[in-house]
Symmetry: C2
Subunit: 322 residues, 2 copies
């Protein structure tokens, strides 16, 4: 099957009337309209076999995850998804695999009204590169640089379960099958917190999506904002879903939740007086939020336990190029 | 060197004041402003080692080409370049190579006022994925679908020299060293016809950039427009730069120019009464244009020689997934 047939069969769909995409797949460029007063938010992620996923991964799950990690970046900026491009390098044409990839990708795209507007296909080692486009009111994006001393620090959903699944795969942890299945679903089908990101516009002072582990990603916020933070490691550990079903020692819980990676939850800050607004936004978005610390003027990240005592544990970030 | 250091060292540059990029590299998303009345033109190309370039290619030339092929898509739509994202998969960190890549990339980007606004880096088989953004007045983009019976068919610059260089590399053709050097430069450093695309807005009825060979790419225009064309193969062959310096038989000249690939010239149509405007636009853009045929109502591509006799030669398109 040639490149053009491949595109047509799996990735060309009828245009969506009334959407932002004025011209989709099939010309030299796609065309996108932006509503007055809006800025375009853009993010790009590349997923490589053996680094971000295993060759044995279900294609539909891979399609979901490739788009989910990009939507998570939009969520962290408070941007509403509009469209995306997909560039795909394939070692061979496996039609069942491509059909699965398209199924997983479009299910998530349709759930967010995010239209495939263009891309590229080529032969080569398996690689998916998605660039996603969203809209945000001019000047209204949630940025990493907005955290201020006195703000409270929050995190959405549950942390650490994706990493738990990875450690089970690696044979370093052992948990009952249902616990593993739930953790694996978190790893393979992360839920981008798009609705929460939108609901936090005008409330949160800064936000980031947690892809490389909370401690490391929080460091980006602190540096960009020129502030520090004290973080309650036990409050963070309390978000680990698996701890309700399996006994894990405190150091493991903290390691999984603070330095797990692949969580795709939002870490964000808000003035303390906006706490009730944060909780309303989370309810409206249908996602749990947990207060996990406080922003301070003194630079650096101070990790303490529930009693406020320093936690003597290293939480290295997961670096995709380390 | 970690991912973040890598990004900072080679790809993070001071923000350009007054440009379309409101927020560049370093947050979850980059932010782009679009002027009132403008649409965003988007194109994405993925370049894979062994498929689009050899491992031995000079990194600066690769950086140039990776962006050039994307700018060529903007040119074909008549869009003005604004910004781009770069996702990069690298087998290892070779600092001299990265410095070269950045040099070639930014030299071309700066020449077109096109700012790097974000991206991704990861470890994996060598792969460059660029998504480029341009602006075009709403409804003013040059499309593949606008060719009409009676329009004249034009091509910019010279065709076939990139393919000539490839055939010399493959040992199938032999030419004197200076001819090869010139042809190789066309292959390794294509010139995106951005100025011509802009100048043709309001004049050309359709346009496409020639990446897979004129005959094949022209087929996309004819199908999208619901028309056919008669093409003068000898007028096309006349654009081959090498023919001024080396004797090549007619079939080889036609094959190189009609089915060469990697030309990154524009093929476009315009009403016959606009011929003088086409030539003025080309002069203003500083690029040669050649009239090579005529659009007709009857579907299909009819290739004739200078005497109007049918040319009995197959011109297969270069398919990156064939």
């Amino acid at each position: 099957m040639g490149e053009f047939d491949l595109i047509r069969r799996y990735f060309q769909r009828p245009a969506t009337a009334g959407g932002a995409v004025a011209l989709g797949v099939g010309d030299d460029c796609a065309l996108l309209d932006l509503a007055p007063g809006m800025q375009l938010a853009v993010s790009s992620d590349m997923l490589v076999e053996g680094r971000h996923f295993l060759s044995t991964v279900d294609a539909a799950l891979l399609g979901h995850k490739a788009l989910a990690v990009n939507l998570s970046d939009l969520a962290a900026c408070g941007a509403r998804p509009l469209a995306f491009t997909l560039a795909l390098s394939l070692p061979s044409v496996d039609e069942a695999w491509l059909a699965g990839l398209a199924r997983g990708l479009f299910a998530l795209a349709d759930a967010h009204g995010c239209q495939l507007m263009g891309g590229d296909t080529t032969r080569g080692p398996l690689n998916l590169c998605i660039t996603v486009f969203g809209e945000v009111p001019r000047g209204g994006a949630l940025l990493r640089s907005g955290a201020r001393a006195g703000d409270e620090l929050w995190v959405s959903g549950t942390l650490g379960d994706a990493r738990l699944a990875l450690e089970v795969f690696r044979g370093r942890l052992s948990v009952p099958e249902p616990v593993f299945a739930a953790a694996r679903a978190r790893m393979e089908q992360p839920t981008p917190r798009v609705a929460l990101g939108l609901a936090l516009r005008g409330i949160a002072s800064s936000a980031i999506d947690i892809s490389d582990g909370l401690a490391g990603d929080l460091g980006h916020v602190l540096r960009a904002s020129g502030v520090g933070a004290t973080l309650d490691a036990d409050a963070v550990a309390g978000t680990l879903a698996a701890r309700r079903h399996v006994a894990l020692d405190a150091a493991t819980q903290r390691g999984l939740t603070l330095a797990g990676g692949d969580d795709y939850e939002l870490a964000f800050t808000a003035p303390a007086r906006r706490a009730a607004d944060v909780e309303s936004a989370a309810r409206a978005a249908g996602v749990m939020v947990t207060r996990i610390g406080r922003i301070e003027a003194e630079p650096g990240l101070r990790v303490v336990d529930a009693q406020g005592q320093p936690v003597d544990q290293r939480f290295a970030s997961f670096d995709h190029f380390g």
